[in-house]
């Protein structure tokens, strides 16, 4: 990724949007337009919730987050995920009336919930389970037969749906519609018969379907690779970086009994906002492949012999030391990979430096020349907040799915305008302000023609511009891409 310098004004005026409110008697500073539930989270007053998710719009489906707000006609019950804060607002989250309402809602939610927690994948990390204990009445008075559905039904190759467990919070459907942009699951029917469904002949074949499993507040959506494999409290969790593509999403690797069982997205504000693509989320299954090399191997007398790490490392070290001794540092070169993290690259660069090796090389994943580093760099956050984003060739939905999510979000919320130059339709074409197609090899003339258009030129002049560069096709010579980039920078520096 390359960019022209974004305009960041370093000036922090007194915030005109700051307000002061009171939550449970505590004075809380908040921002105009913020939701009560978000302000309460910061002040440490936890309001129970099922449908609210900070990265998606609020719908007020579950009614669990009811709180009491002092109004002109006495205390009113309002849904804190749908009500924004106001100056001098008085909010109480722990009164008798609030408690009764929350207990009533948990009881009604559990009236048709199968309570099969002991065999449910979510058991142990389930918001419904946790909040039934913390904010529930403790026992149910419903002695009638519960609702029954066929379960589980596979809605895609990866995701299974259990409608009995579903509490109709609208999280998965909102995610599919708002974040991923392919609304392949929706509510059907009304009232007591409301249920989550896919289209009759279409599976939930989203690139982001795994996220719905993660955000489901009950065990209604489960992922095929993780089903019945472990209990959440048995999992050893390590936070890491996904290396499937160059976005580098934050993930937790969760394993049990020395077996990798799942990846979960971590909400990292500058990168992935908690989302992962299915490619990244489910590729851990390759770790279990029997073609994978599990031990370090050393070649002796023409044969590869499995050995231990200490032996392998010491023999590698002695070979490198011998080579440097014999031919000097010039006789050794290090080739880096494109899939490592920045920390990996830094580590091997340090190694090369300390050994005095100057013959180092590495490539981008799509084979573009490293001279790209010579241009100003933009972070993913800057790209998602730029006024204009120019896309040169890559199909982001296929290659960098989370960057696609971020840019789609920027375009949907009218933050950015996307201008793409592509040889074929891409996932972002629907969201692009201008989409110019070109014949492979003729980028430069199309770009010059589009960017000199007065409307486009006015848009580019308006603010920061980020250029996302990629190769549409590995068969295409990378010089075309670089020429296209130079053409863009010549017009929009």
């Amino acid at each position: 990724m390359t960019t022209t310098e974004p305009n960041i004004e370093v000036e922090i005026p007194l915030d005109p949007n700051a307000i002061t409110m009171s939550i449970n008697g505590k004075s809380v500073a908040a921002r105009k337009g913020e939701l009560i539930i978000a302000a309460a989270d910061r002040s440490g007053d936890y309001i129970p919730r099922f449908c609210y998710h900070p990265r998606m719009s609020s719908v007020g489906m579950c009614r669990q987050c009811l709180v009491e707000v002092e109004g002109p006609r006495g205390p009113m019950m309002v849904v804190s995920c749908m009500t924004s804060v106001g100056e001098g607002q008085i909010v109480r989250t722990e009164t008798e009336q609030v408690k009764r309402a929350q207990e009533g809602i948990v009881e009604l939610l559990l009236a048709n919930h199968p309570l099969d927690c002991p065999v449910c994948d979510k058991g142990g990390e389930c918001p419904l389970q946790d909040q039934a204990f913390s904010h529930g009445p403790g026992e149910s008075r419903f002695i009638e037969e519960k609702r029954h559905y066929e379960k589980p039904i596979p809605i895609s190759d990866l995701v299974l749906l259990d409608r009995e467990r579903c509490i109709l919070c609208d999280r998965c459907t909102r995610f599919a519609d708002e974040v991923a942009g392919d609304a392949l699951i929706q509510f059907t029917s009304r009232g007591n018969n409301t249920q989550i469904q896919t289209f009759p002949d279409e599976p939930f074949s989203s690139y982001f379907s795994g996220n719905t499993v993660q955000i489901c507040p009950v065990g209604a959506l489960t992922a095929q690779p993780y089903r019945f494999k472990a209990r959440p409290w048995d999992l050893a969790k390590i936070e890491s970086t996904c290396t499937t593509c160059s976005v580098g999403c934050r993930i937790t690797l969760e394993s049990s009994r020395d077996e990798m069982l799942r990846y979960q997205g971590v909400d990292s504000d500058p990168v992935n906002h908690g989302w992962l693509c299915d490619k990244g989320r489910f590729n851990f299954e390759s770790i279990k492949s029997n073609q994978r090399i599990e031990n370090p191997m050393v070649r002796s007398d023409g044969d590869l012999v499995a050995t231990s790490w200490s032996v392998a490392l010491s023999s590698a070290a002695s070979l490198i030391a011998q080579a440097i001794k014999d031919g000097g540092p010039q006789s050794v070169a290090i080739l880096g990979g494109a899939r490592g993290t920045n920390e990996d690259a830094y580590a091997w660069a340090r190694l090369a430096q300390s050994l005095g090796i100057s013959n180092v090389d590495a490539q981008f994943d799509d084979g573009l020349p490293t001279s790209l580093f010579g241009y100003a760099q933009a972070t993913i956050d800057e790209a998602a907040h730029a006024t204009t984003v120019l896309l040169l060739s890559p199909d982001l939905k296929e290659e960098l799915p989370i960057l696609y999510v971020r840019l789609r979000d920027a375009s949907e919320k009218k933050r950015s305008k996307l201008i793409e130059f592509v040889p074929k339709q891409t996932g972002l074409t629907r969201y692009a302000w201008k989409s110019a197609s070109y014949e492979p090899g003729r980028q430069v003339s199309v770009i010059q023609q589009t960017l000199t258009d007065p409307a486009v030129a006015a848009q580019i002049a308006q603010g920061s511009v980020v250029v996302v560069v990629g190769r549409a096709n590995l068969a295409e010579n990378d010089s075309f891409t670089m020429a296209a980039l130079d053409a863009v920078l010549a017009i929009a520096p």
Binding site: R63, L66, M77, V79, G104, I105, L108, G191
Partner: protein, 92 residues
Amino acid sequence: MSRVVDGKGTAADLEQLIEVGTSICPGDFPHASNEKLGLAAVPFPYKMNTICFVGPSAYAPVNSALVLFREEFEARIVKRHTIPVTAVGAAL
């Protein structure tokens, strides 16, 4: 409700009906006045906890029946002790 009407209800069922209603609409629910019971009318509007505007409407007849004609429900609950189980169907 059908348990009560079938003569198999208990006093707790009536309380539960009111309580479920209260979790839909907190506070006093509007109903007409009644001189015999000495009840003053509760005026509209009601308060709402629910996202669904049909919810309070569904509760409205239940509430007014339970508030204004409570003795009939109670009679149904008490009476079942005096009616043999086999006679319940015939009595209906």
